[in-house]
């Protein structure tokens, strides 16, 4: 009997996909959501909008990103859908400091893991202690996000660089600190994990008991974190956050935000991976997602970090921009 190969229907693209893209140096992973509203296709990568074209079983996506220097560029992904898998090639477009060679990409349907299999536990399940050094893997660094009107209004008012917290030695807070490329150390003590970040010398306490913030505790850039183990995955939820910007792009994190981090460790205990999800309906229509990976590095150490904002203020003064900066004070935090 002849084998019948069914060609994909356009509507087969709808749904949630896990995209994997192979740069010549690394693999990037992200959540791609494809929807059809009336006759229009909409798509979102890691919570942010992307351009999409679909014709029969062919697909093309244009996704913005940025490199570490902050230069913005696009990745164009072209491919086709067969046997419930999308495969194709991608290439970088635009000017970026970090050049990527064209490479393959693919997408498979998101598998929803059954978390109920693993009963949540406050007991330490995996050894995360030690110093961790960031790799270049995983994160698409999706640039634009799907903002609410309030989120857009805020972003319109934001002045890059001048309103950025870290240039004046103010804490960048969460979630940005988790995604930065500097090493951090995890300590474990009874009913508590302590994260020591090299960048800005910041400390996070993650309570693995029923600890709650006192009624007098103020919001902060680090917020108040509780952690729970789901099998070998550490799930941290952080509330009581002070307003900050999500990244230097300037999108807002409100005081109502909840940040969820899911940490998992490789079987050999040497690679740590985090999925970081921002739930902030005040500013985002879809939850922004970031990813980060580290490797255990016992040969390094956490360096001290002191900060002097003179390199920010003095040039601003010399350029005659100080009054502008002062006038914008109510817009900064």
């Amino acid at each position: 009997m002849p084998c019948l190969l069914l060609k994909a229907n356009e509507l087969d693209f709808e749904g949630r996909w896990i995209v994997s893209l192979q740069d010549n140096k690394r693999t990037l992973v992200g959540l791609l959501e494809i929807e059809k509203n009336n006759q229009d296709w909409k798509a979102y990568l890691e919570g942010g909008p992307v351009e999409i074209k679909i014709k029969e079983n062919e697909i093309e996506i244009l996704a913005d990103s940025r490199d570490v220097r902050g230069f913005v560029f696009n990745r164009r992904l072209s491919g086709s859908l067969e046997d419930n898998k999308i495969q194709g090639r991608y290439q970088q477009e635009g000017t970026a400091a970090q050049k990527e060679a064209p490479g393959p990409w693919s997408a498979i349907r998101e598998q929803i893991s059954d978390l109920s299999v693993e009963s949540p536990s406050k007991t330490k399940s995996a050894d995360l202690t030690g110093i961790w050094t960031a790799t270049q893997e995983l994160d698409f660094r999706k640039y634009s996000m799907t903002l609410t009107q309030d989120g857009k209004d805020w972003l319109d008012s934001y002045l890059p660089y001048y309103d950025q917290p870290d240039v004046r030695c103010t804490s960048i807070g969460l979630p940005a600190l988790v995604t930065y490329s500097f090493p951090f150390e995890i300590l474990y003590s009874n009913e508590r994990l302590t994260f020591l970040y090299e960048y800005q010398a910041k400390v996070r306490r993650i309570w693995t008991n029923d600890e709650k913030p006192s009624s007098f505790m103020t919001s902060s850039r680090m917020g108040f974190s509780n952690g729970i183990w789901e099998g070998n995955e550490l799930v941290i939820k952080t509330r009581l956050l002070e307003k900050t910007v999500r990244d230097f792009r300037g999108e807002l994190i409100s005081e109502n935000a909840l940040i969820e981090e899911r940490y998992s460790i490789s079987d050999d205990g040497e690679t740590l991976t985090a999925l970081i999800i921002v739930d902030d309906p005040d500013n985002y229509e879809r939850r922004p997602i970031r990813r980060r990976q580290w490797v255990r590095n016992s040969s390094t150490e956490i360096f001290p970090y002191s900060c002097d904002p003179d390199s920010f203020y003095i040039p601003m003064y010399e350029d005659g921009e100080m009054q502008m900066y002062i006038d914008r004070s109510p817009l900064r935090f």
Binding site: V68, R69, A96, Y161, S181, Y305, S306, C307
Partner: protein, 119 residues
Amino acid sequence: MFVVGYLFSGVTHSHHSFTSEFTAEKIIKLNGNVKQVWFRNPHVRYLLTVGTSEDKSETWDLRGSPVVWLARKGWTKDIISMGDNIIVEGYPGHNGRKMLSIIRVTLSDGTVLIDRAPE
């Protein structure tokens, strides 16, 4: 001590946004004498005196990575001092501003320092 010219693009980095300050469209190379050193977080800064063809000089504002990143690679406070002659390559400031996001520095003894952090 002159502005040497344009190179090919390449290389990466810095920890916070210089998008509004620098352009990725080109890389330039400067040869000059170090006028001032700021080896501090959140990022190091050098002022560089560069000669121009009219027998005059101009001052360039060079910006680098945080101290913690550079120091880990051996780029310490004393490796570049006031008065040193250096060649530096990097991304220039927007709209002709005499600023440079450092990619690479060549010291007078030929030592090359790379300001390149991982993603």
